[in-house]
C-alpha cells in the first residue's frame, strides 16, 4: 500500500520530523491584571516520527489538539513543552533517548553539550539563522480554509510568488515563469496569474494554496484539513493531486483531518488523538483493521461507510471534557463504553453523574477538593447530604465507577467522596509499532487492581499541590 519506501537511500536514515513529548498549553487569564488562573492543555505530551516520503495521518474530533500540534510542528506557534526536531538522524535520536532516560540533574557536562549540539542543529523552536531558514523552506503548511488563508487583495502571481521573493529565489520574468510552472503542476495555468482569490472556486483556491506551499520545493508539508471545506467530487480531485505531487517530488505529509475515510486513504501511519493525547498509533492498515482503543472503535462505528451494506452508525454518549481540566487516568474514560475501575474515575465523574439527577445537587453549597480523587461536598441540610451519599453508595452508579470508589461517608451536612488514585495512562507498544493507550490492551492495564495505595497517594499529593485548591464550582 505504501508506494514509496519509507527510507530513501540518498541520505542517512532519519526522520523528517520527530515530535518528542510536545505540549502546548494556553493560559487562561482572568481579571484586570490578567492573572493566569489555569491552562488549556491543547496538546499534552505527544510523540511520533514522520519518516521521509510517508504520510502521517492525524485524526480526531474538534478540540482534540490536532490543528495546534500541526501549527507547532510547522513552527507557527512555539510549544510550551517537549521538543520538535527537524531532520533528526536515527543516531542522534538514539542518543537523545539515552540521555533523556537520565534525569536532568544527573547528566554529565558532556551529555548536556551533546543535547545542546543536537538542539541547535535540529530543534525547531531554537533554530536560528541559516538552519532556521532551511527549516522554513522545507516545512510548509496548507490551511483548511482557503478563504482566510489567501490574502484577498493579492493577485495569484503575488500569492504564489511571495515565498520565492522572500527567499530571494527569483525575480522579474523568472519569477513569473516559476509561478506559471507551479500553477501548472497543480492543474491551473498562465491564464490564472492576474486574478484575485475570490474569482476562484473552493477547489481552485485550495490548489493555489498547494502551489504556494510547493513554491520553495519543500520536503515536508503540513496539510491541515485541506479538503474539509470542499465537495466530495472536488475533494477527490485534490486528494489525487496531493498523491501525485507526493509521488513526483518525494514529499512527506502530515495529514490532519477529522474524516476517517480521507485519512485512511491518504496515510501510511495514523495517530488518533483525543483531548491532547494520542490514543492509538499504528499503520493505517492495523488501525482500521484491528483497532485497539475504544475511541478508535467508536470513531469507526460512527463513520458512515458507503461500502458497507449494514447500517451500523453508533454514536458516543456525553461530550468531550474540557481540556482545561482533563480527566485523570485515561482521558476517554468519561465516554468509554468499556471503562474499567482502573481507568481513572474521579470526583468530577461522580459530580457529573449526580448532575443527571438534578434534584440531588440542588442543595450544594461548596466543594472542597483535596485532589481530583478526593473531595468533600457540602450541602445546605443533612437530608440532601444523606440523599447524595446514598445515591453514590447504592444508586445505579456505573459499576466501574463504583468499583473505583474507595470511600463515601456522610457526616452531617457534608459528603466525603474518595476514589482510588491512578497513574496517567501511557502509550504502549503492542507489537509491530502499533501503540495504544488503552488499559484493556497494555501491560499497564495488567497491573494488579487496586494498586498498593500508601506509597502511591502520598506521591501524587506531593507532585500535585495545586490541585488541592478549594473551589465551589459544581463541575469542571
Amino acid at each position: 500500500m505504501n508506494s514509496l519506501s519509507p527510507q530513501q537511500p540518498k541520505v542517512a536514515r532519519r526522520a523528517v520530523i520527530s515530535v518528542r513529548g510536545v505540549e502546548k498549553h494556553f493560559p487562561i487569564k482572568e481579571g484586570t491584571l490578567q492573572r493566569v488562573v489555569g491552562q488549556v492543555r491543547a496538546v499534552d505530551g505527544v510523540s511520533f516520527e514522520v519518516r521521509p516520503g510517508e504520510t502521517m495521518g492525524l485524526v480526531g474530533e474538534s478540540g482534540c489538539g490536532k490543528t495546534t500540534l500541526g501549527r507547532c510542528i510547522s513552527g507557527l506557534v512555539p510549544p510550551t513543552g517537549g521538543k520538535i526536531y527537524f531532520r533528526l538522524s536515527d543516531q542522534d535520536a538514539a542518543r537523545l533517548d539515552e540521555i533523556d532516560a537520565i534525569p536532568e540533574p544527573d547528566r554529565s557536562a558532556e551529555q548536556r553539550k551533546e543535547v545542546e549540539r543536537i538542539d541547535a542543529n535540529h530543534r525547531v523552536d531554537v533554530l536560528s539563522g541559516k538552519a532556521w531558514r532551511t527549516y522554513r523552506r522545507n516545512c510548509q503548511i496548507v490551511f483548511q480554509d482557503s478563504f482566510s488563508s489567501l490574502n484577498p487583495r493579492q493577485l495569484v502571481k503575488d500569492l504564489v510568488g511571495r515565498p520565492l521573493q522572500v527567499h530571494k529565489e527569483a525575480s522579474g520574468q523568472e519569477l513569473i515563469e516559476r509561478v506559471v510552472s507551479l500553477l501548472e503542476s497543480v492543474g491551473l495555468g498562465r491564464q490564472h496569474l492576474y486574478r484575485y482569490p475570490h474569482q476562484f472556486s473552493g477547489g481552485q483556491r485550495q490548489r493555489i494554496s498547494i502551489a504556494r506551499a510547493l513554491a520553495l520545493d519543500p520536503e515536508f508539508i503540513v496539510l491541515d484539513e485541506p479538503t474539509s471545506a470542499l465537495d466530495v467530487s472536488v475533494q477527490a480531485q485534490i486528494l489525487n493531486l496531493l498523491h501525485e505531487l507526493q509521488k513526483e517530488r518525494g514529499l512527506t505529509y502530515l495529514f490532519i483531518s477529522h474524516d476517517l475515510g480521507v485519512v485512511r486513504l491518504m496515510s501510511d501511519r495514523i495517530a488518533v488523538m483525543y483531548l491532547g493525547k494520542v490514543a492509538e498509533y499504528g499503520t493505517s492498515m492495523e488501525l482500521f483493521g484491528d483497532p485497539h482503543h475504544p475511541y478508535t472503535e467508536a470513531l469507526l462505528a460512527a463513520n458512515p461507510d458507503m461500502a458497507s451494506e449494514e447500517s451500523v452508525m453508533k454514536g458516543l454518549s456525553g461530550t468531550v471534557p474540557s481540556p482545561a481540566n482533563p480527566p485523570e487516568g485515561c482521558r476517554f474514560h468519561t465516554r468509554c463504553p468499556v471503562a474499567t475501575p482502573a481507568c481513572g474515575w474521579e470526583v468530577d465523574d461522580a459530580v457529573a453523574w449526580l448532575q443527571v439527577h438534578e434534584t440531588l445537587l440542588a442543595g450544594l453549597t461548596a466543594v472542597q477538593r483535596r485532589s481530583n480523587f478526593d473531595a468533600t461536598l457540602d450541602f445546605q441540610d443533612e437530608d440532601s447530604a444523606s440523599a447524595v451519599g446514598r445515591a453514590i453508595h447504592d444508586g445505579d452508579v456505573p459499576p466501574a465507577m463504583k468499583a473505583a470508589l474507595e470511600m463515601v461517608s456522610t457526616e452531617g451536612r457534608s459528603v466525603h467522596v474518595r476514589f482510588i488514585p491512578v497513574e496517567p495512562v501511557w502509550l504502549e507498544d503492542i507489537g509491530d509499532g502499533h501503540l495504544t493507550a488503552c488499559l484493556l490492551h497494555t501491560r499497564q492495564g495488567k497491573q494488579p487492581w487496586p494498586p498498593q495505595p500508601i506509597a502511591d497517594s502520598s506521591n501524587r499529593a506531593a507532585a500535585n499541590p495545586s490541585s488541592a485548591s478549594t473551589t465551589n464550582s459544581k463541575a469542571r
Binding site: 467530487s233 477527490a236 486513504l265 458512515p304 458507503m306 452508525m313 454514536g315 448532575q355
Partner: protein
C-alpha cells in the same frame, strides 16, 4: 394517522402512502449583477407520509433553497419565486380529505401559522440558529407562545381573563406587562410562566437533554454543539409537525455526536410519525438514514428513487461519479474517481443537460437539449439521454463503466 403503513418499513407499499407535500416545477431565481441566477429550475418531487426523503447534492445545487421555499424563507428580493407550486397536506386536511394548500400562494398570516407548527426546520449551524442573547428557555418557549397558546392556558380552565389570554400569545403591550406585575395579576402571570416552563422542559426532555431545567436557564454559548442541536430539534418538534425539514443538521458536528443526533431524529420521527426532508451533501449519511433519495445538480433533479435503487444501481453519470468519489476502504491512493471540472454558472443557462460540461459521455444532444426525466423501473427515474430510446435520428450517449 393510524394507518398501519406508517413508520419506517420496507420500501414496498410506499407508493400507496398518502402525500405530505408535492413540489411541482418549482423555479426560484435570484437577481444578480451578472443576470438572473436559476438556482432552482423546474424541480418536482413528492414527500410521502412518514418517510425520510433525502435531498442530496453538492454546494450550490439548490437543495437548501428548495427546502427553504417550503416555508418561504428565501428572501425576496433578491429571490424570485418564478413558478411552480408546493402542495401541502396537513394531517387535518388529509383526514378531512380536503384540498391541499399551495405554500407559495397562501397569505403571509397563514404561512406564519404553518411555520414552526405544521412544517418545522432544523438548520445547519446550531451556533447561528440560536439567538446568543436569549436564554434557551425563552427561545423554546416562543414556539409555544406562537402556536400553542391554548395548551398554555389549559390549567386556567374555561374562563380565562383576557389579559392572561393575551399574555399567552405574547400580545401584551408594555402597560399590560406592567399590570401583570401588580398583585391581582402577579399570581396568574406566575402560573402562566410555570406552565410554559413545564412545556419547555417536556420538549427538552423529549430530545434526551439531561437536566432540562438547568439547560433552560443557560444561554447558547454555554452549551456544546451537540446540545445546541438538541435544543433546536426540541424547538422544531415541539408542535409535532407534519413535515420536518432538516438542512444538514449534523454538518457542524463531530462524527460521534452526529451519530447520536441522527439516532435521536430517527427515534422521534418514528414516535411522532413525522415526515422528514433530509438535506445533505454526504452520500454515505443519506444512504444510512433515508427511505428515498432525490439527487440534485445545478438546480435540477437528475435522479430519484428509493435509497436501495439509487445506491445499488446509480444511473446518472453524476450520481455514479459522486459515489465513486467518496473515499472508502477499497480505494487505492491516488485512484479516487474525481469528477473533473466545477459546477457550471447558473446565470441565464441555455437549454442543455447541466452536467454536460463535466460528463465524460456527453454527445451533441446533451449540449443542446434538456433531458427529460425517464422512469427506469420501480420508482427509479433519471434525467439522462443515455436512458432514452433513440429513433435513430440522433446520437444518444452510452455510459460505459465510470473511470476505472
Amino acid at each position: 394517522m393510524t394507518q398501519s403503513q406508517v413508520g419506517i418499513d420496507t420500501t414496498q407499499g410506499q407508493a400507496t402512502r398518502p402525500l405530505v407535500a408535492s413540489v411541482r416545477d418549482l423555479k426560484i431565481y435570484f437577481e444578480a449583477k451578472a443576470g438572473v441566477v436559476h438556482a432552482v429550475d423546474g424541480v418536482s418531487f413528492e414527500i410521502r407520509d412518514g418517510e425520510t426523503l433525502g435531498l442530496v447534492g453538492e454546494t450550490g445545487c439548490g437543495k437548501s433553497v428548495t427546502a427553504r421555499s417550503f416555508i418561504r424563507l428565501v428572501p425576496s428580493p433578491p429571490g424570485i419565486y418564478a413558478g411552480g407550486q408546493i402542495d401541502f397536506w396537513s394531517t387535518e386536511s388529509r383526514r378531512n380529505r380536503s384540498e391541499p394548500i399551495d405554500l407559495l400562494q397562501i397569505p403571509h398570516e397563514e404561512m406564519l401559522a404553518i411555520r414552526g407548527d405544521r412544517i418545522a426546520m432544523i438548520f445547519q449551524d446550531p451556533g447561528k440558529a440560536l439567538n446568543p442573547a436569549l436564554s434557551i428557555r425563552s427561545q423554546v418557549a416562543e414556539v409555544f407562545y406562537q402556536h400553542r397558546s391554548e395548551e398554555i392556558l389549559e390549567p386556567f380552565g374555561e374562563d380565562v381573563p383576557r389579559l392572561i389570554r393575551r399574555a399567552a400569545r405574547q400580545q401584551t403591550r408594555s402597560f399590560e406587562k406592567f399590570l401583570l406585575n401588580l398583585p391581582p395579576w402577579r399570581a396568574k402571570a406566575a402560573k402562566l410562566r410555570m406552565r410554559v416552563d413545564e412545556l419547555v422542559a417536556q420538549a427538552l426532555t423529549e430530545t434526551q437533554i439531561p437536566n432540562p431545567r438547568t439547560i433552560m436557564a443557560s444561554y447558547p454559548h454555554e452549551l456544546s454543539g451537540g446540545m445546541k442541536q438538541r435544543v433546536l430539534i426540541a424547538q422544531a418538534l415541539a408542535c409535532n409537525p407534519d413535515l420536518l425539514i432538516a438542512d444538514e443538521p449534523t454538518t457542524a458536528l463531530d462524527v460521534t455526536i452526529q451519530a447520536r443526533i441522527l439516532e435521536l431524529i430517527a427515534e422521534l420521527q418514528e414516535r411522532l410519525e413525522t415526515s422528514v426532508l433530509y438535506i445533505s451533501h454526504d452520500l454515505s449519511l443519506v444512504k444510512e438514514i433515508c427511505d428515498r433519495v432525490v439527487v440534485m445538480y445545478a438546480g435540477r433533479i437528475i435522479e430519484t428513487g428509493t435509497t436501495e435503487e439509487v445506491f445499488s444501481a446509480p444511473k446518472h453519470p453524476y450520481t455514479r461519479g459522486l459515489m465513486a468519489a467518496v473515499p472508502s476502504a477499497h480505494h487505492r491512493r491516488g485512484e479516487l474517481a474525481a469528477i473533473e471540472g466545477t459546477v457550471p454558472e447558473l446565470v441565464d443557462p441555455s437549454p442543455a443537460c447541466r452536467f454536460n460540461t463535466r460528463c465524460p459521455f456527453a454527445v451533441d444532444i446533451c449540449r443542446t437539449v434538456d433531458p427529460e426525466v425517464v422512469a427506469v423501473g420501480g420508482e427509479h427515474t433519471v434525467a439522462c439521454f443515455a436512458y432514452n430510446t433513440s429513433d435513430g435520428s440522433v446520437d444518444l450517449p452510452t455510459l460505459e463503466r465510470w473511470v476505472s
